[in-house]
Symmetry: D2
Subunit: 343 residues, 4 copies
């Protein structure tokens, strides 16, 4: 059994990790930490876990954390980087669901996240945990930077095209829409139901932290700097991301060929599902499941890729468990085969 701790277990990625891990056959959840809720039953905060988990929140101490094999950080940005050096030193592996280790260039990270990184020396070692891109490195990693939700949806849609070299790298648009759970469980006026319900808007058009994260991976794949326009939007619903991607092929290509390119790219991927031509993936198809559904289209002179994930699963906790499975040489799908809840 893999002994795991979850640091910051009071947010949505924390409870989602718990939902997946309580039924994972190879995992023993030893520790769930929260400074504010220490001493309280986890199920008092998350009654959906009643009958599945008999643990209390504890304050996070190095001592407690080091009794585990893997520590998941489901914390706000800037927390994981404080504890990670000591944990690694103690032989504990770390999967950070926040952004602390996602950007290789510390200057870029510090600009976008507005703080000083306290272990930049680990940025090089950290593996960006997108299994479809970095599976081999993940298998050997001590430290995983679990990808952001938008980046997961956008990258899986663009990768086959960029790897195949068929599109204009100066003409990439990601029009992305996310449910409000992406904003977390923190009390906040803009994500009150009265504010976010029954309405829709773009936000952060001038710049969103996931933009440099997406660009970093696209640039690596492309071997050059790409030009990506990324516009996030807030959906009046809880779970789900849809990204509609627009680009142009360098040469005219039949849509059948593009479809084939996607199918080949993902044929061995358990969690990327290329839908038949002319499909329109809905976010509910993947609600609660660790799946990315993709569909390719042409519209006028553009190629249009549709990508949907559950932001809390393939966009966070599910992908973290997938990374854990890979790191532990388990079947990658272990504990991740539940069916999406629809309707």
């Amino acid at each position: 059994m893999i002994k795991v701790a979850i640091v910051g277990g009071t947010g949505y990625t924390g409870v989602e990790l718990l939902r997946l891990l309580v039924n994972h056959p190879q995992v023993e959840i030893q520790t769930v930490t929260s400074r504010t809720e220490a001493g309280k039953n986890v199920t008092d905060l998350f009654p959906n876990l009643r009958g599945h988990l008999d643990l209390k929140f504890t304050a996070p101490t190095q001592e407690k954390l080091t009794t585990n094999d893997i520590v998941f950080f489901a914390t706000p940005n800037g927390i994981a980087m404080q504890d990670t050096p000591a944990l690694l030193k103690a032989g504990v592996k770390v999967i950070d669901l926040a952004a602390d280790f996602r950007i290789k260039d510390v200057a870029i990270w510090e600009k976008w996240y507005g703080m000083t990184h306290n272990c930049p020396e680990l940025l090089k070692e950290a593996v960006y945990g997108l299994p479809e891109l970095n599976r081999a490195k993940i298998a050997k990693a001590r430290l995983i930077a679990n990808p952001g939700c938008y980046p997961t949806a956008v990258l899986l849609g663009f990768l086959p095209l960029i790897e195949a070299g068929v599109i204009d790298l100066n003409d990439l648009i990601a029009d992305a829409k996310s449910g409000v759970s992406g904003a977390g469980r923190k009390a906040n006026t803009p994500t009150l139901m009265s504010e976010a319900g029954e309405s829709f808007k773009a936000y952060n058009v001038a710049g969103h932290r996931h933009w440099p994260e997406i660009c970093q991976s696209l640039n690596i794949c492309a071997g050059t700097e790409v030009d990506l326009t990324f516009v996030p939007h807030l959906l009046p619903m809880i779970r789900g991301i849809e990204a509609t991607l627009y680009t142009k092929t360098l040469q005219p290509i039949d849509l059948d060929k593009i479809q084939e390119l996607f199918i080949q790219r993902y044929k061995n991927e358990p969690f990327v599902d290329v839908l038949p031509l002319n499909s329109h993936p809905e976010t509910r198809n993947v609600r609660g499941a660790n799946i990315c559904q993709l569909a390719v289209h042409k519209s006028n002179n553009k190629l249009v890729i549709l990508s949907v994930i559950d932001n809390l699963v393939k966009g966070a906790a599910g992908q973290a468990v997938q990374n854990m499975n890979i790191m532990n040489d388990l079947s990658e799908t272990t504990g991740l085969m539940n069916v999406a809840l629809s309707p």
Copy 2:
């Protein structure tokens, strides 16, 4: 392996049965029928099942159905009663998720359902599939009438009190609220999102088909006729039923005693969860899970019981699987241990 067929697999109880059964370790889904969709992949209609089920809808034929051990009817009312006699004769067990076999008195059934019953002789044999009430009979049954969604939520809340003989049987009120999935997948103006979204109303105050069904079981438990007022309401959400039950104790009783009574009544029930005193169960606590959460309260001179279920799971497909497990002498929780999806 238990070979099962689902008749009428295009509605919400059908797809929910499939969601649960594709991961059930003892079940092999052989047949999913639909007259209108015959020949189409089940996953074309329900893309959340992609990767989990490789079956096409077929037209329902007696021949095909009798190759199964159990046939689930996830059909509109009045369909199951047409095929059931022949299936039972052929040695196939039947679980009807519709209402055909729920009411023992054929006259009452025909009045409320507006049609002639075509196998009234089976009404006596049919077992009302509420495991918390009829477990032993279910284990030996050939024909299960799977309870309605409202009745499940209301009965589990009233049963301990009636069995204990502590309440005024002439003063029972169930103020029940259901998500729109309870109305099914049929095209229908009142359940369009533009009609049912962002609004709330009572409906069928003058009479709802679930009223005689609830009364039947309450009467049996009470050993006399009870007086139940039942008012259903439509919630602007998809899944979930909450029932707020009001009654009066015959004698003053401490709330602690009532709490203890509930705990004792359900202590061996895997799918009924009595929350600590002063709890307020939310429907999301049980979204996708086969659980009924209950809480007891006093308010002024009334006893107030709060009961929540997922109408498609403990109120339909999950309870059907629970019944199937009991009928096959499997552990009752097999295939039903997934955690509720929250948020």
Copy 3:
């Protein structure tokens, strides 16, 4: 023109007052105050008012407020009572949309609101601003306690029956459901969309501040103490309250007679609409409108009254404007004739 100020203009009752008052032909909005937003354009916070209002938030000063004829307090509980004595002394009338002046008995108020009242001497003078009950007093009042949202919906449903003396005063139940805007615009985890969306729950079953407020008016009407059980619930939508009221007639009475009793009671009321027999009012029927729709039903041995309002309009800002109209001898419907937004 009536010069008005709105104190605490950053909440939902504040913006709703502004929505109604910018088009009121007899009102000039002079002042909108907010300590936190002082200096900012009101339309920066509430872009729905762009083109209708050209004012900045100002800090609330006695000097500024006393230049108005009427001051509306759309503040948290406990604020209005601090400024009201001086305003009245300066000849300014006050309409408090919070609870500071709703309860006549200061001990009860202090118990439920957890603070010391700082002008209990005004409680006797304050008029409870339910026009259907206190129109004549409102016309002459200097100080209006604008009713709570739940109390408005519940009182309008029970009043005809209690005034007519036809029901058992020991058997009153109000099962009430409210949209999340009732909880205000304050950042708060339980009303995040991820928490309150797609879910439903009862809350505060053990006691809610609106219970003593409702009882106070019912007791006055009844001339004795009534026994009311009140259970509030949170709806996954923004606007609207539905109250399902249960009671018992002392003698058997035909439903037609009850219907007639309601029609007579409200025949001259512009904002109470008794629907035809067998109706099921939906909250969307009154979204944005200053209307209470009522319907009467029988169910088993109980009388069932259905009542819907928009909590922000007839349950708050609209009723405040109605009171203002009455106080100023304007036609009561002035500025309040907009049609509900449906769908």
Copy 4:
């Protein structure tokens, strides 16, 4: 008083017209037709209109319609074209809220709408009723083709740029999202709340009827054929359209200049509101109001325009009333000054 009839008054554009017209000071609603509901009170179907309208639905007859000054068609596509020739001959003006007269080229119309046009001779005369584009022609028109909802949002966003000749006409993308009321009140499985709620998807990527309509106006403005990629999406909410438009300027231009260009273009437009730089318009800002809010942004190498309307108001009924005002030489804002409902 302008005497008006509404043909097809049972859909959402019909009830929305009624909502606006019952309070229009210069309009007398004489006739509301519906074949299926003839004889029924309009308020039985639309209880939000109770107290505002005392009319029954009638069957549409030429005789009745010709007693009006203006007939609004709020019907499915293909109905208005049947009655319009006779109405015009009788001296009655027509505003069609459906698509019968929107496309000038009958071959294109017949291809996209799958039927034969029965009065193609009127296509030339019909004026495309976007006041911001065709005000002078509307003033003199007998027959108005009221624009589609998506086209209104998209055109108002692109027009200033195209008229100014500053963008690459081969690089226009409109990523548009609509609430479900855009799909109408017809019973239909995909717009059931259980299907469309809590989910999001693109649809009709291969082609949507509003694409040729948008292109027609863009081409006229540009004086050449533009290349527009248009992808519609379905939002889990009732009202509102947001369009995120992407294009490229031919030369580098400061965002301030673009902002100024928009402000100048719309400075005299009562219903187009250009927000300050760095704004993110939300659909709720315009819920129920006849407003288009626009904001301009840069993102990487693209210009991004955000445009929001209420699809039922500026995208349908409100724009129709605006057109009626212009045709009757009334102040354009008459009856259209209600404030958007937010929250």
